[in-house]
Amino acid sequence: MGYQNRVAVVGAGLTRFMRRAQETGKELCFEAARMALDAAGLRPRDVEAVVMATAPDVFDGVHMKGEYLADGAGGFRKPYMRSFVGGGSGVFAAIHGWYHVASGHFDTVLVVAEEKMSSCLPHPQAAFNGIYDQFLERPLGVNLLWIFALEMNRYMQVHKIPQETIALVSAKNKKNGLDHPCAQDGIPGDYTVEEIVGSEVMVWPVTRLMVSPVTDAAAAMVMVSERVAKRITDKPVWVKGVGWHLDSSYWTNRDLYYPKYVEYAARMAYDMAGITDPRREIDVVEAYDPFAYKELHHMEGLLLCDKGEAPRLLDKGVTQRNGELPVCPSGGLLGVGNPIAAAGLMKVAEIFWQLRGEAGARQVSRPVRTGLAQAWGDLMQVGTVVVLGV
């Protein structure tokens, strides 16, 4: 793949993750964007283009909320673009940021991701049901959780994975989240497997502590060309690879036990990064974890282990923060919160901070040179992957 510019990440910003924020979506965007610019030592007028990620308009109840949020994201009188692939949007926005700079069109791009889910009453889950087929599925009284529970059970059945092993993902991520300064109240914690499996059954095999919460928050990141990076920082973090891929929306016609679209997205990013053996070459991973099983599912799709092998790595402690392959050292969506698009960009920001050695209490034990952030969404059909390196 040919492109004009190498692209570096030079700053990131994050608001607190909250069940219900006093700030409006615009205000959340502004706070995160300003923090990212401050971190990069840049002024708003240095920004040449803005990329915005935000999930369904129905959450905010504002149609075309990309435009609504533009002012808060610094998009005033600038080339501005909204990225939207459902849950995959946060990482997709970083990919769009990369394109803007790699193409040679822009030297400095601000990427902002926002979600304000609390506006939707009584619960944003009802608004989510519109993702299901209106002829075949909605008349059955569907609920967003069904598709995940069906996928989780399929994954458990094919590989003979006990619910208890999957619960270890929640235990790990919720514990990691205790060290995250932005974690949502009541979301991180020290939980036993028994507590997680024994928590309220939502849609079996998914229990309350195996699903991420509803969250308001924003995240932001500054991406620049090599020319600008060399001028403003001694510690650029380079975008080594990007990849994305979409599967069919006929989800009942796919075998849900394995996310092939994540594999294709990963292969695209690895090819670009020159990575031939991801298991050796990737040092730290932020896999998308809106549900406990998804982290394992995604590790397999990312080719970080064989199919069905992720639970064993988890069980052996390999994916702990002090393990050989730390996964979700931030705490992830299960441990910090899940403001859909902002959660994806938070993962990219976490890899940025890990590679700079600036993750504080969340810093992984092993030395890290290459990290990966991944998100997933739409109708369980899109994979988005960014590989960063120093």
């Binding site: 607190r16 909250m18 109840g61 529970a149 069906l150 059954v201 849609v203 079996w204 600036e358």
Partner: protein
């Protein structure tokens, strides 16, 4: 810069902040209605359900009998060419047990969503529906339902059918279908 930041922005609200009027809110109620035409493929499919039949659609490119039916094959990206009646029997591909209603409220009696692979459709061609007659508690349901279990559609009485997916009430374990 995470390590250099000590004060992250954002003010979390509690329910009482709104209840006590410390924070003001504005409400808006949307009432949107839609009517969707069922299109070429699903019109035939739904007319079939009214007659107690399930139709799939065959693609000569990949030799798949597809359910739900479509007029084009997304793999081969060419028109499908023939209707094929498939069985109202099949096997459970995966299932779950739902205590949550469509609007996130709790339900006392769980429902059992499943992906059912119909006999006569190509392998892996499932549809989402509900299982019934498998118990009322999690223990009962997990004791009775297994992935791979043979099931059969339980239909609404012909006079009550509307040409909708709900013309099938649910799929029930197929008597004598154990293997």
């Amino acid at each position: 810069m995470s390590v250099h930041i000590h004060d992250y922005p954002g003010v979390p609200l509690k329910d009482r902040d709104i209840g006590d009027g410390r924070v003001l809110t504005t409400e808006w109620h949307v009432k949107a209605q839609y009517a969707w035409d069922t299109g070429a493929a699903l019109s035939k499919f739904f007319r079939g359900l009214k007659e107690g039949k399930i139709y799939g659609r065959w693609c000569p490119g990949c030799d798949r009998v597809m359910v739900p039916p479509r007029m084009f094959c997304e793999w081969c990206f060419r028109p499908t060419v023939r209707w094929v009646e498939v069985g109202d029997t099949g096997r459970v591909n995966t299932f779950s047990v739902s205590y949550v209603n469509w609007d996130a409220s709790r339900s006392a009696v769980p429902r059992v969503p499943a992906v059912v692979e119909l006999d006569g459709a190509s392998p892996g061609m499932g549809i989402m529906h509900l299982l019934g007659g498998v118990g009322d508690t999690l223990e009962e349901i997990l004791g009775r339902v297994k992935v791979g279990m043979p099931v059969q559609a339980v239909w609404k009485p012909p006079a009550e059918r509307q040409g909708a997916i709900t013309d099938i009430l649910y799929f029930a374990p197929r008597p004598g279908g154990e293997e």
